[in-house]
């Protein structure tokens, strides 16, 4: 852990001359961590550099870049955050050309916390730490293995727990819209708790995460009610990969498949009638 921290510090120092700032996380009052933009003018601030827990850095990056489109920025990113940056780039939310990625490979413990299948970066040229294999996702597997009735009961209870903080939506680096369908009373009942079943909020959000969820698990982490909503996203991501050969955040040039025309063989894999 401390080795990685030292290496990361060195990597940032190395990048400093080429950029206007490096986005990472730092440890603050009471030991609480938060995102911070480090500058070469103040290398001493790197003393407070931290690596865990992670923060939704791509979203912060988007906010900074929006205000400073010309700035050259670097971001410390894990596999998921790198995927997040890639997807945001595909959706014109980030300018890839002005970015330097400092890859941070996750440890086994971190990967297990996130139930992450790909705890490593692939695009970053500067990399800290050794890439490790993905780990299984027992929660998703457990839900996937349930019968329809069990699933129904399971989600009914989960949705009942939702206090509608919108945290999962707000923290999600891929939810960058100015306004949100989840706040549109045409589709989601506003101001009602508990939310009626089936929860329009969660189902619509799951649809919106199609080919977008980068499996960073920030949503589950911030959920006060511990709703494992990423299970939906991950199951759908599998389908999207299976049906449309799309892997979120993997290939820079690949566009989200649901926007495009059917390619050879795709229709057959959708299971739709002929």
């Amino acid at each position: 852990m401390s080795d990685r921290l030292t290496s990361l510090r060195e990597a940032i120092q190395q990048v400093f001359p080429q950029v206007d700032g490096v986005l990472g996380i730092r440890r603050g009052p009471g030991g609480i961590i938060s995102p911070y933009l480090f500058h070469s003018e103040h290398p001493e601030e790197l003393e407070a550099l931290a690596i865990w827990p992670k923060e939704p850095l791509p979203d912060v990056l988007r906010k900074i870049q929006k205000a400073h489109p010309e700035a050259k920025l670097a971001i410390v990113c894990r596999g998921c955050e790198e995927r997040g940056v890639v997807e945001m780039m595909k959706h014109s939310q980030l300018n890839w050309d002005n970015l330097t990625l400092i890859g941070l490979q996750c440890t086994k413990e971190e990967a297990e916390f996130c139930r992450c299948a790909k705890p490593y970066t692939v695009h970053a040229k500067i990399v800290v730490g050794e890439p490790i294999e993905g780990v299984p996702d027992p929660v998703t597997e457990k839900v996937a293995a349930m019968s329809r009735e069990e699933k129904q009961e399971f989600w009914k209870e989960q949705f009942l727990h939702c206090i509608k903080c919108y945290g999962c939506r707000t923290i999600c680096p891929q939810c960058f819209c100015n306004i949100c369908t989840l706040e549109d009373e045409k589709f989601v009942e506003t101001g009602r708790l508990p939310m009626p079943n089936p929860s329009m909020y969660h189902l619509i959000r799951a649809m919106h995460m199609t080919a977008k969820c980068v499996a960073c698990r920030e949503c589950e982490e911030t959920c006060p009610a511990d709703i494992p909503m990423a299970v939906h996203f991950r199951l759908i991501a599998r389908d999207v990969q299976e049906m449309f050969s799309y892997e979120t955040g993997a290939i820079l040039e690949q566009k989200p498949p649901q926007l495009l025309v059917l390619e050879e063989g795709e229709y057959e894999r959708t299971g739709l009638p002929h």
Binding site: D20, G21, L23, G28, P29, G30, G31, I32, I33, S34, P35, Y36, L37, H39, E41, P53, E55, P56, V60, K63, I64, A67, H68, A71, I163, K164, C165, Y166, G167, T170, I171, E221, T222, C223, P224
Partner: protein, 136 residues
């Protein structure tokens, strides 16, 4: 230099005491982030907490002191406004005694401010007519 920081602070809504980060970009608020590993909020927030930054820059914010003149509130300087308050309070205290003045401190303000206002009431005005909406 681009300045981005996250300022750790305490949520101003209910009494749970969640802490959160105000995201500040070049001196303006751009959002809220929860505080991971905090003993109370544990990286989560409720909808109010997530939106704490929203009212801060609201157009309705009072930006200048106001004094009622001819039945209407009109903009005034701090000098005028505080001068008038000091004068009036002094007058009532002298004429009708300290207990003709009452003060409401605030469950929304900081400990330091509550301390100061009750100190002001007790030490400067000389009354125990100090309360706030604890019961409401």
């Amino acid at each position: 230099m681009i300045e981005y920081k996250s300022v750790l602070t305490t949520c101003p809504y209910c009494g749970t005491g969640c802490t959160l980060h105000l995201q500040v970009l070049d001196g303006t608020l751009v959002g809220t982030l929860p505080a991971k590993e905090h003993p109370i909020s544990q990286g989560g927030l409720c909808i109010k907490g997530w939106n704490v930054h929203a009212f801060v820059n609201h157009k309705d914010r009072l930006r200048t002191p106001m004094i009622r003149k001819n039945g209407k509130l009109e903009e005034a300087t701090w000098e005028e406004a505080l001068g008038l308050v000091a004068e009036k309070l002094g007058e009532f205290k002298a004429k009708s005694g300290p207990d003709s003045i009452a003060l409401l401190t605030s469950a929304k303000c900081t400990n330091e401010e509550n301390y100061l206002l009750q100190k002001f009431g007790r030490a400067v005005i000389g009354t125990n007519n100090v309360d706030h909406c604890a019961r409401l």
